[in-house]
């Protein structure tokens, strides 16, 4: 491929030009890529995508819809980064290519409208509220009482089964002021916990409070911005990063904790990077990063939580979310919490940190691929003989519930903190 100067403005891509250059095309990423194991084609795997990024930079590949489609087949699971001998930051490159397409071509109108709403917490809340009230008309119940299918199946989403939107969004105002020496945790719920799985929020509050801290939630349940960045809307994602910092400014809390590792990694990794060039924000983003935690690691490493009050006699298998295991390096803490519950036996599945194929809207845009990746996970889960599946991410939970249901498997899928809360309540399963 030529090295002449590319035509047009490729400023977004040029920021990752050095990262692209360090790939020496060994192809080791083929061993771990969940997309490649289904497609067995080079455009599916990191090496192919990095070479396409090189082709954009050299002007050999135009920045258009076809290119956008090529970069959409990635779950950003980071397993290639872990396996890469050269340390290529593949997810940064994939996100840069997606952002370059938006920079050059603009957002498609549907995404413009949707992301416009997501960026305004009031609109997002009103839309979710309306959707929750109207979903009875749009969805039918499936055999599994927790999941529903679209009543009028349209196109891509026809086969998927979703949990219903929450009748009431999760929110926990908590005590208004810091009470004595009791530490104060700001629980960042994120969209999934707020609107789909409020039970994860309730459980987080319970276990955190029992561990001796006060819990409050932010004034507005705004999106962390990852879905926008994943679709290349860098400006929108940056706007949300600023919004989050602005709304947290002046709030009193000792630690920010989230039960969604994608949200957590936004505070820990993404915001300092997105806002690196903005003097008004960068120092605040870095300070916040230093006191932001996943709920399981905060419970174990910071609060040194003891075993729950009750017991729970069950064999549990644990799925490691990509953004928790590889994004934040957290695999030990959720297992310690689970095995600390009296009566719980942990039965490890094969490749517990292999991507479940959920990856947010990837599960809709690439439904067949997502279900095929998930089917492997469902088989690995079934092979453990466990009665309950635990994970530490609401997105993974949604995907796992769907792929298990597709396989006719009625095993419940829960967040780690929900099992802790259940054990505290002495609820037997």
């Amino acid at each position: 491929m030529s090295t002449e100067r590319p035509p047009g403005d490729l400023s977004v891509m040029r920021a990752v030009a050095d990262a692209v250059a360090i790939c020496n095309r060994c192809g080791n990423c083929q061993a771990v890529c969940p997309v490649y194991s289904e497609t067995r084609t080079e455009p599916g795997v990191a090496r192919g995508k990095v070479q396409l990024a090189a082709a954009i930079l050299s002007g050999d590949l135009p920045v258009d819809r076809e290119t956008a489609a090529a970069f959409s087949t990635c779950t950003t699971c980071m397993s290639c980064e872990e396996a890469c001998p050269s340390g290529v930051p593949v997810v940064d490159i994939v996100n840069a290519a997606r952002a370059q397409v938006v920079e050059t071509r603009g957002l498609p109108w549907v995404k413009r409208v949707v992301f416009g709403g997501v960026k305004r917490p009031g609109v997002l809340r009103a839309a979710a509220d309306a959707a929750a009230r109207l979903q009875g008309a749009a969805f039918t119940r499936t055999a599994d009482r927790d999941l529903r299918r679209l009543r009028f199946p349209y196109g891509l989403a026809a086969r998927r089964a979703y949990p219903p939107l929450a009748a009431r969004p999760f929110v926990h105002p908590g005590p208004r002021r810091k009470a004595g020496a009791r530490p104060r945790v700001l629980l960042f719920p994120g969209c999934m916990v707020t609107y789909v799985y409020p039970g994860i929020g309730d459980a987080s509050v319970e276990v955190l409070e029992r561990a001796g801290v006060d819990v409050v939630t932010p004034p507005e349940a705004a999106c962390c911005g990852v879905p926008l960045e994943a679709h290349g809307d860098l400006a929108g994602a940056t706007e949300l990063a600023r919004l989050q910092l602005d709304q947290l400014e002046g709030l009193e809390f000792d630690a920010l904790v989230a039960a969604c590792p994608t949200c957590t990694s936004s505070f820990v990794h993404r915001y300092p990077r997105l806002l690196a060039g903005e003097p008004r924000y960068v120092a605040r983003a870095q300070r916040l990063a230093a006191r932001s935690y996943d709920v399981t690691s905060h419970l174990v490493d910071e609060l040194h939580v003891g075993p729950p009050a009750g017991r729970l006699d069950a064999t549990v298998t644990y799925h490691d979310p990509c953004h928790l295991a590889r994004g934040l390096g957290i695999t030990r803490q959720p297992r310690e919490l689970l095995t600390g519950i009296p009566g719980v036996r942990l039965s490890e599945m094969r490749e517990p940190s292999r991507c479940c194929g959920g990856a947010g809207s990837f599960s809709l845009a690439h439904q067949e691929l997502s279900l095929a990746i998930g089917a492997r996970k469902a088989a690995d889960i079934a092979a453990t003989g466990a009665e309950v599946v635990a994970t530490s991410c609401p997105g993974c939970r949604m995907q796992l519930a769907d792929v298990l249901a597709q396989a006719g498997d009625s095993r419940p899928v829960v967040h780690t903190v929900e099992l802790l809360a259940a054990a505290n309540r002495g609820a037997a399963r």
């Binding site: 061993a31 080079e42 455009p43 192919g48 135009p62 340390g87």
Partner: protein, 458 residues
């Protein structure tokens, strides 16, 4: 390429198995070879069965268009690069293990099966498939047979050609032939299986293979020995072999590699050593204990500082330096040219000296690891594809490495193949007679020169 040809391919294969989008084609322009410009193919086909491969080859034959067979694209000699455009034929989707025959200790596989997967299945029966190239976790059986891949166990277990007993091949005229079978002894006619192993896709497309499996060793013992003088390491290798002990692994790691690995891993490697040997013996427990004691004694007698693994955890630690060699080199340069010049075992010290001299004269960093037991060295030149001057010096150095290996009675390539990268030097090794015979075989089987053209047979 004409749109007629694309239509013919689309008519011959199920939907979705013919790729024509620019973004798809760009992903089949390269393999793992460094510094190669590559060439975008006109179309990529993903056949799922032998008859689909045959149909593609017949269409290519009728149109006289090149066909480039491709497995996982991990060749280090440009074996999978479509240098003349045309059709890339990926066998990655043909990935069924057709039979694991425990009674006959063999397996029948499609070409897209990843080597490691075959090994995982064989392990369930206490068996193994010994060839283990560095790319074992991703490389396919088809690609590794076409390239006759080797690996770390070559000294004791041999290389790919010692394990292939049967093949199904689609010839350049689209005819399907089945050669050999499960018999380990077979002198029925020419050794036609042998003709295709290592033929680098220039004579036919492998669509099925029957390979031997062997009992996996019951026990193993692992140790490293650090030497202050590189020559002592070489003399140690000679003394081990002279004692009629054949280690499964006998790896040499030079001072440059040790330094780069330590900078990358901070694992506490002996960076003051001139060379490190990684030695593993395997077999029945009694033999392993006896051989390991012998090897340890020989290492110490030659001045080696020995560290012997007491358990699996310690074994992993000893292996870490070797495993980290490639990542360490890859992370400390923008590119690497990994060569595999091979010399008779006794000439390894002279070869190492020659490589050091070449590196100094051309102001290059060349890190050498190698399979010391079989004389197969991997001098790895650290390069930057964007630095034209550096690349030119690197290519000159590589040519001199080849020349030195041949002068010592060695050969151009132990296990990576010739492909396009080493094609200009083939005559040095084969001579006019050998080149002529190569071309006559190629012309007899592929008169139109449509199978992997532009490589070593050009």
């Amino acid at each position: 390429m004409s749109s007629d040809l694309i239509r013919a391919l689309q008519g011959a294969l199920p939907k979705g198995q013919v790729l024509t989008k620019a973004s798809d084609l760009l992903c089949y322009a390269y393999d793992a070879t460094a510094g190669d410009e590559g060439r975008t193919p006109d179309v990529v086909v993903l056949p799922a069965a032998t008859d689909e491969v045959a149909r593609v080859v017949r269409i290519a034959r009728d149109a006289a268009v090149p066909v480039y067979p491709r497995g996982a694209g991990t060749s280090l000699s440009g074996g999978a690069i479509p240098v003349r455009g045309g059709i890339v034929l990926s066998t990655a989707a043909m990935d069924a293990v057709i039979e694991l025959d425990v009674a006959n200790q063999c397996a029948v596989v499609q070409p897209g099966v990843v080597i490691q997967r075959l090994n995982d299945l064989a392990a369930e029966h206490g068996l193994m498939y010994p060839p283990d190239p560095g790319s074992v976790a991703v490389a396919t059986m088809g690609g590794s047979i076409a390239e006759c891949a080797g690996g770390l166990r070559g000294l004791k277990y041999g290389v790919t050609k010692h394990y292939v007993t049967g093949l199904e091949v689609v010839l350049a005229d689209g005819q399907v032939v089945r050669l050999g079978g499960k018999s380990t002894k077979n002198v029925t006619g020419y050794d036609l299986v042998g003709l295709f192993v290592g033929s680098e896709g220039t004579l036919g497309v492998i669509t099925e293979a029957t390979v031997r499996l062997v009992p996996a060793p019951e026990a193993r013992a692992t140790m490293t020995a650090a030497f202050a003088l590189s020559g002592d390491a070489s003399r140690t290798v000679a003394a081990i072999v002279a004692g009629n002990v054949v280690p499964a692994t006998l790896e040499f790691i030079d001072a440059t590699t040790l330094r780069l690995v330590e900078e990358y891993t901070h694992a506490g490697l002996p960076t003051d050593a001139a060379a490190l040997l990684l030695i593993e013996v395997d077999g029945p427990p009694e033999a392993v204990a006896r051989e390991a004691d012998f090897v340890e004694r020989v290492c110490r007698e030659h001045g080696g500082a020995v560290e012997r693994a007491a358990d699996d955890e310690a074994r992993e630690r000893l292996w870490a330096a070797r495993r980290a060699a490639y990542p360490a080199l890859a992370r400390q340069s923008r590119g690497t040219i990994v060569e595999d010049a091979t010399v008779p075992r006794s000439r390894v010290p002279e070869m190492l000296a020659a490589i050091e001299d070449i590196a100094t004269r051309h102001r290059l960093t060349i890190a050498t690891v190698g399979h010391a037991g079989d004389g197969n060295l991997h001098p790895t030149v650290l390069v930057d594809p964007d630095d034209a001057d550096l690349m030119e010096r690197a290519h000159t150095a590589v040519a001199e490495i080849f020349s030195a290996a041949l002068d010592l009675g060695g050969t151009l390539s132990g296990e990576h193949g010739i492909g396009s990268a080493k094609a200009p030097y083939l005559g040095w090794a084969l001579g006019e007679g050998g080149l002529d015979l190569t071309r006559r075989i190629k012309a007899a089987l592929d008169p139109q020169d449509i199978l992997n053209p532009g490589k070593f047979t050009a």
